[in-house]
């Protein structure tokens, strides 16, 4: 119980408090403490990556072992990971070498771009759903969206004033309302974690 619950809560409390105090102290000792903490996060991240990779191999080797119609993709995933890592580590020039750079530029970048560009089609389909005038509020949304969209194209420049007003006043007001709530929620959640009131992230009950 001590190792599983009390000790982690104590560490969270002490380090949380230390980081709050550090935030207000610009002294070099305080800055060094912050830098070393940031370094530790990176170091633990590197170790966590080993766990992540072991999970990756575990999941995909199990899928391969099942030998169903989707097993092929798991094989491709494992092959790509080992291939890219192998070329990056053992290939001539490492990650700056010709082969690694070309594989990155010619495969990973276009794949990323393809996924990202799908967004435009999804936006169109989401807009189609959002702009159905089912009730008064949805109608108001539809009208506002039409005005803003028209105002953003070349022949809609006559709407510049109203578009500016919509974006600067009602839109900003709504966003600030949400952001205020988020800010308070963030501070409250942080304090709850530091004080040990919120413990769900440790897993299990009390």
């Amino acid at each position: 119980m001590f190792l599983k619950r009390t000790l982690p809560l104590l560490i969270v409390f002490l380090l949380g408090l230390a980081m709050i105090i550090q935030f207000y102290i610009p002294h070099p000792v305080s800055q060094n403490f912050y830098d070393s903490m940031a370094e530790w996060v990176r170091i633990s991240g590197a170790f966590a990556l080993i766990l992540g990779l072991s999970s990756f191999f575990y999941v995909h080797t199990r899928k391969l072992a099942r030998k169903n119609k989707d097993s092929f993709y798991s094989g491709v995933a494992i092959l790509c990971l080992i291939g890219m890592a192998g070329i990056g580590i053992f290939g001539r020039g490492g990650i700056n070498g010709w082969l690694f750079s070309n594989l990155y530029r010619s495969i990973i970048v276009p794949l990323d771009a393809t996924m990202f560009s799908l967004l435009s089609f999804y936006i169109a389909s989401a807009a189609f759903k959002a702009f159905k005038a089912r009730n008064a509020m949805a109608f108001a949304l539809l009208v506002t969206a039409i005005i803003v969209m028209l105002g953003r194209v070349s022949f809609g420049s006559f709407l510049d004033g109203i578009v500016e007003w919509i974006l600067v006043y009602p839109n900003t007001a709504a966003q600030r309302g949400i952001i205020l709530g988020i800010g308070l929620g963030m501070i409250a959640t942080s304090l709850k974690i530091i004080l040990g009131i919120e413990r769900s992230y440790l897993g299990g009950g009390d």
């Binding site: 996924m115 807009a127 308070l184 929620g185 897993g203």
Partner: protein, 387 residues
């Protein structure tokens, strides 16, 4: 941050009132820092024709030589902030500056002056952060007050949050259909409070899933988040009395690449067709890619994020959306723990006070109540916020 907000303000204040007595080059310490920056200012030469820029030299000891630490590209910019990591300054160092004017070809044509010896100093408290101290004390006081109230009155009211009420129904639907529940804890790291809030929700959700004898899939982008979600889900199954039902490959690491992660999760949605998709945490451009794919598979979708720019996408494509702070309130709402509910009441009171202040100040501004525009009040505010 110091460069963006504070130093320009300090420069503005200093430039108008710099005492240049004794030497043509004046050195001032940057207040509220770790002693790693100095502001050097000088009087422009009377006749600036033929001059194009200045070179700033620094000598770190009396015996040492002057080394160039910077350049001021405009003749009218007669100040320089020395904070270059290549030429580090530390508190306690004794430095001397020398300013030289250059012509168009960058030839040194006149020495403007040499400063007196100066030593940068560090501060023990950053006075520009006084406002955040007040905010933290305010939030902390409200939190403690309502924690005590919650201990006395166990039935504090919190309004219904439709998205969280629907969780039971969504998990039940997955059970009836014999399909899994997909839980995406956002794409951010553990540094992000939204991720922590998401993991706080994952525990009760996973427990419910375990009780219903359904399967939960938790793909992760960050390896640290993966290790935590793995433990949380495992503990939840244990708590539900079904440790045997937990499978290691239910919680898994996918990829740190944003769109590779999206492709993998979308693939899971299309192949396994989970009955319920939960997107809770921090999302960026992938929010709509995930939510629209889930929508196409006919899954019940509940999303929650504090990313204001992604909220409209989730609202459009998901059945329920937890907007901003509702994500942080979810853990208390689901557990109904009086102490946690008390913290939500504290947030409500804080918001009410802010709202009253905003309305009051806006009305006063509309009525042209001049006290808030008076010089003495503005000076007080400026000094409080350290500008």
């Amino acid at each position: 941050m110091i460069f963006k907000k504070f130093i320009p303000a300090v420069i503005l204040v200093f430039l108008g009132s710099l005492p240049l007595s004794g030497s043509a080059v004046c050195v001032q310490d940057v207040p509220d820092d770790d002693g790693s920056a100095l502001i050097v200012s000088w009087e422009p030469p009377g006749d600036i024709l033929g001059f194009f820029m200045y070179k700033i030299y620094r000598k770190d000891s009396l015996e040492g030589e002057f080394v160039q630490v910077g350049k001021s590209s405009k003749m009218e910019n007669c100040f320089f902030v020395d904070k270059d990591p290549r030429f580090p300054l530390n508190s306690g160092m004794n430095v001397v500056y020398r300013i030289v004017a250059l012509d168009e070809e960058e030839n040194e044509i006149r020495e403007i002056g040499v400063s007196e010896q100066f030593s940068p100093s560090h501060s023990y408290f950053n006075s520009t952060k006084k406002n955040t101290v007040v905010a933290v004390i305010f939030v902390f006081t409200a939190l403690i007050t309502f924690l005590n109230l919650a201990k006395k009155d166990k039935n504090l009211f919190i309004r219904k949050i439709a998205g969280l009420d629907a969780l039971d129904e969504a998990v039940g639907r997955a059970t009836e259909m014999g399909r899994s529940v997909l839980y995406v804890p956002g794409l951010s790291t553990m540094d992000d409070i939204a991720t922590v809030a998401s993991i706080n929700i994952l525990g009760p959700v996973a427990k419910k899933v375990a009780e219903y004898e359904t399967k939960i899939l938790v793909p992760n982008r960050d390896p640290i988040v993966y290790t935590i979600t793995h433990e949380v889900v495992k503990e939840a199954y244990l708590e539900a009395g079904r440790p045997d039902a937990f499978q290691e490959d239910q919680v898994f690491f996918v990829s740190q690449n944003q769109f590779a992660f999206v492709a993998a999760v979308n693939g899971i949605m299309m192949r396994e067709k989970p009955a319920t998709n939960l997107y809770l945490g921090m999302f960026w451009a992938e929010s709509l890619l995930l939510a629209e794919t889930g929508n196409a598979t006919g899954a019940v979708q509940i999303a929650g994020t504090d990313s204001v720019t992604q909220l409209p996408f989730f609202v459009t494509s998901c059945d329920y959306t937890l907007i901003g702070e509702e994500l942080y309130a979810a853990s208390a709402y689901l557990s109904r723990d009086p102490v946690l509910v008390g913290t939500i009441k504290a947030q409500d009171v804080e918001k009410a006070i802010l709202l009253i202040l905003l309305v009051l100040l806006s009305v006063l501004a509309i009525l042209n109540f001049n006290f808030f525009r008076s010089e003495s009040f503005l000076r007080f505010i400026m000094s409080f916020f350290g500008t």
